[in-house]
């Protein structure tokens, strides 16, 4: 048996046809690793089609898992690539490190499938795979063999192929199979044959490596995480967002209302919240995006913590209604899980290109609060914070996450509700004879929230401009100017409620790297590595976008060069240029539907430092 070595972190990528069960395989590997004590981050990469044509590049579905001692992102390139067919190998070899272990199901490398994948020759017979450690496992054959007493038909027998590959990877990283067993027992409770078959196959995969000499390298033990003590779970960004909203509703002692329409990659928020009627979550699947937000605006008027969840195209459809929420000064959380655009764009791929839309995409002077989550796990806190700010300032708030955060998962340290901050919306008092719908707190410019059913506070609001105080319809010129100013100032004053922006590294470093939202992991890792290498580099990452933290200008002044990195063509950098006219910014942009890689970031930063 091979010897064992230790590694700080490893990346494993499972790729196959979209029906091959790669998402489940990856999830089981990441959950097992987390239970075993590793820090984790995952990144599913799947096509928009549910079942694209068999054995084609278009149909390849992948799931990348990064495990180790301290994990910020799902990793650039992988140490182990599991490819269940030629198309998945062809499209993913570029994501494997030089020297990586490539596991393939050699049974699938028929001439037809090889041609379909776009190979001119069998990649095992030319130089395509030179420099990699390849394991050509007859996975289909061995899977069929393992279940021959359970399933005789080909389709059922081959369905567990993914478990064979999982077993092999478990062997390589010396992981236990117990979690996978208990998962299978729960998942297929009603189908004992399926449990038996899957268990047999996962252990067959493990034993195949153990009993033969196919894997000749040392087995690898991945270092355990050094994380603050506490109770943890694995969580995706979308689920964290949903839970953050539930937590905010409970803290504010309000019902949660979600009005939403299914859209990739935001649908999981709707699915998740639909489960929790027991927590008072009132979830409404609307007939369209517009009804989603309009029902939420109605629910907000009626006194709920109202939310709508969507992705870019849906946010476009909601624009007019966001303006209505701005005008009626009602709390409303709009979650935008960004994806590649414009139009339908790249529904399943990530991008940060809705920032302009979030900041400016409405008719009239219509400022909203805009915040962005920066990791799958912290989506919980940003959803909570978006709700808190919105409720306490009676201002619609847009929370930006993205497909990478939403579908990706991370370890999440479970908080206690008692440790979360209080949320105190500015409710009006019943029968307050001085109540006026547009009377404001003159420090914050926030109006009061009077809810239908409350005695003595009947009033009417709507999309027409309202007179200051009384809130009657008004077309008076001076009043309009006054109200426009109030709405803008109210949002600016939110800066008084938020903490200062923090900087990683020396505050006078030559190069300041700026990021926002979902790119935190890769940026932070790149900068930390460069600081360790002795480079004069610092990093600041924005979650509060509108308004910006008050010390932002101060931070910018201290660095010779500043580079703003984002997965769009420069939306945040241009916003900063607007706000800080005299500062000059470099920018680094990418719109390939993919997260940043640490390698490309470091190259760019080194170039800038040498400039």
């Amino acid at each position: 048996m091979a010897t064992q070595i230790e590694k700080e972190d490893v990346v494993v990528k499972f790729v196959g046809d979209s029906g091959d069960g790669m998402q489940l395989t990856g999830t089981l590997f990441s959950d097992t690793s987390a239970l075993d004590g590793n820090d984790i981050a995952t990144f599913p990469d799947y096509p928009a089609e549910i079942r694209a044509p068999h054995n084609t590049i278009a149909g390849v579905s992948g799931f990348q898992v990064h495990i180790g001692k301290k994990i910020y992102s799902s990793g650039d390139q992988c140490d182990v690539l599991v490819a269940m067919n030629p198309a998945s190998l062809a499209s993913n070899l570029k994501w494997a490190k030089k020297g990586a272990v490539i596991i393939v199901d050699i049974d699938t490398f028929t001439e037809e499938a090889i041609n379909k994948a776009g190979y001119k020759n069998n990649p095992f017979e030319d130089e395509s795979l030179l420099g990699y450690t390849t394991i050509k496992a007859p996975i289909t054959t061995l899977t069929r063999e393992a279940v021959k007493d359970i399933f005789t038909d080909k389709k059922s027998a081959e369905r567990s192929r993914n478990m064979f590959a999982l077993g092999m990877v478990f062997f390589i990283y010396d992981k236990e199979l117990t979690h996978t067993y208990s998962y299978l027992e729960k998942k297929f409770k009603k189908n004992p044959d399926v449990i038996k078959a899957n268990k047999a196959v996962v252990s067959a995969g493990y034993n195949y490596c153990d009993n033969t000499d196919v894997f000749q390298l040392p087995r690898i033990e991945v270092k355990h995480a050094q994380m603050p003590k506490g109770k943890y779970r694995n969580i995706t960004g979308n689920i964290a967002t949903a839970w953050g909203l539930l937590a905010a509703a409970e803290k504010a002692k309000l019902n949660l209302f979600l009005g939403s329409y299914p859209i990739t990659p935001a649908t999981d928020i709707l699915i998740e919240l639909s489960k929790y009627k027991s927590l008072g979550a009132r979830v409404f699947q609307a007939e369209d995006e517009i009804a989603g937000i309009c029902s939420a605006i109605g629910a907000s008027f009626a006194g709920a913590l109202a939310c709508t969840s969507t992705s870019g195209p849906g946010l476009s459809l909601k624009s007019e209604a966001i303006g209505l929420a701005v005008m009626t000064e009602l709390p409303l959380v709009i979650v935008d899980v960004q994806r590649g655009g414009p139009s339908t764009g790249l529904p399943t791929k990530t991008e940060q290109s809705d920032l302009y839309q979030a900041l400016f995409g409405r008719n009239g002077e219509a400022p909203c609060i805009v915040v962005a989550a920066s990791s799958s796990a912290n989506s919980f806190y940003w959803a909570f914070q978006a709700a808190k700010l919105s409720l306490e300032t009676m201002t619609p708030t847009i929370l930006l996450t993205d497909g990478y955060l939403g579908n990706g998962s991370q370890l999440f340290r479970i908080p206690k509700m008692e440790d979360l901050p209080e949320i105190n919306p500015p409710f009006a008092k019943e029968n307050d004879s001085t109540y006026l719908p547009y009377k404001r707190d003159m420090d914050t410019f926030v109006r009061q929230w009077a809810i239908p059913g409350m005695e003595g506070l009947r009033h009417r609001i709507g999309g027409l401009e309202k007179s200051d105080g009384k809130g009657s319809v008004s077309t008076d010129n001076d009043n309009h100017q006054l109200m426009v100013n109030y709405r803008a100032e109210k949002v600016k004053k939110v800066a008084n409620r938020i903490p200062d922006q923090e900087v990683l590294g020396k505050e006078d470093a030559d190069l300041l790297v700026i990021g926002w939202g979902g790119t935190l992991g890769a940026l932070k890792l790149a900068v930390e590595e460069m600081i360790d290498e002795g480079k004069s580099i610092a990093f600041t990452h924005f979650n509060y976008i509108m308004p910006l933290p008050k010390n932002t200008g101060e931070i910018l002044k201290k660095h010779k060069k500043i580079v703003v990195c984002e997965l769009n063509m420069g939306q945040f950098v241009n916003y900063l240029r607007m706000e800080f006219e005299n500062t000059s910014f470099y920018q680094y942009n990418k719109t390939q539907g993919l997260p940043f890689e640490v390698k490309e970031l470091k190259e760019k930063f080194n170039q800038l430092l040498e400039k």
Binding site: K231, A286, A291, M417, P452, I461, G463, L464
Partner: protein, 340 residues
């Protein structure tokens, strides 16, 4: 779910608004406002429990003219806004004011879905067959061939009949009334208020400025008796100056007959039953129009069916009773967790 009643007898004055009503003199909207102000106190709910919602258009100014909680929304979206209010707080009585453009053009999707779901709202559709607030463009209910500002050579579109839309969308309540008949307006609005579920009342409303007399061939006094069939539950469908005309079913179609002619007796005339689940006769009644038929008024359809809100609240109750997850701490600690 019951809506709390007022402990004191309310009057019209309790709902009178301090806002100047800015509809044109002679506009049919005034009559609907008067009818609503008449029946709100009668319904008896606490005045804070009424909520009036609208979209955009002349009639959508309605919330400003009733002293209740009110929401003047954006074009076409009243039904969606009202849906959110009702789901968030089912103990409110929801009233929607909408026009033919608002409800059947830009808001058509919300209109059919609020009906399909049987959301517990009262929906008044002011049908003047024109865009009034934007000064005279044709709407989805404008007659084919009519000259308007945007149809200088005549409207090409086939018009919607709101009744067909409501019944086609599985509506449980549809009634029709006329702005010049305050008594009947009050009656259908009362019936609407008593109905649990999406209740739609189409008011044939006159726009004196941009579409004057659009309904005149039915609503004018001279045609009243011959071209209006006022339906009453359990009563034969009889109309005409001499109360001698009625409807029968022949070959599965409605037919106008004369009592005393061709052997037709009063007992041969169809009896109106708005509560029948089958939509057949209701649909045919909603479709009737001159010259061969009178137009049907009153409550055409009023069918009992659980509302969205009743089922929703039942699920909420069940989940609160049986779910293991009773607070967010339970949720956070559910499923697979581990200590580090």
């Amino acid at each position: 779910m019951a809506i709390e009643h007022s402990s004191v007898q309310l009057t019209k004055a309790d709902f009178a608004s301090d806002q100047m009503v800015k509809w044109c003199p002679g506009c049919g909207d005034h009559a609907v406002l008067a009818a609503i102000l008449g029946i709100f106190p009668e319904i008896g709910y606490k005045k804070e429990n009424f909520c009036v919602v609208s979209g955009i258009g002349c009639s959508s100014r309605f919330p400003y003219y009733v002293n209740t909680y009110g929401f003047h929304g954006i074009h076409g979206r009243a039904a969606a806004i009202a849906t959110g209010i009702k789901i968030a707080n089912p103990k409110l009585s929801l009233w929607i004011a909408s026009g033919d453009g608002d409800a059947t053009a830009i808001g058509g999707n919300h209109f059919i879905h609020v009906i399909r779901r049987n959301m517990d709202v009262n929906y008044i559709l002011f049908n003047n067959r024109i865009y009034g607030l934007t000064k005279g463009q044709y709407s989805p209910t404008t007659k084919q061939g009519q000259i308007t500002k945007t149809s200088p050579f005549g409207v090409i579109d086939y018009p919607f009949n709101p009744g067909e839309l409501v019944i086609g969308a599985q509506g449980t309540f549809f009634a029709r009334a006329i702005d010049n008949s305050p008594k009947s307006l009050g009656q259908v609005c009362r019936a609407m208020a008593q109905h649990d579920g999406a209740a739609i009342v189409e008011v044939l409303q006159n726009c004196v400025i941009f579409n004057d007399k659009t309904h005149a061939e039915v609503t004018d006094k001279e045609f009243k008796e011959e071209r209006q069939l006022w339906l009453e539950q359990g009563k034969p469908m009889i109309f005409g100056k001499d109360r001698n005309k009625g409807l029968i079913l022949e070959d599965n179609h409605l037919k106008v007959v004369e009592i005393g002619k061709d052997g037709i007796k009063e007992e041969d005339i169809l009896i109106h039953d708005a509560t029948r689940e089958n939509t057949g006769v209701h649909m045919m009644l909603a479709q009737m129009k001159p010259p061969y038929f009178p137009v049907a008024f009153g409550v055409i359809r009023a069918v009992k069916k659980p509302t969205y809100n009743q089922i929703f609240e039942q699920q909420m109750q069940e989940q609160k009773e049986c779910s293991k997850i009773q607070c967010v701490d339970d949720l956070l600690n559910s499923g697979e967790t581990w200590e580090i």
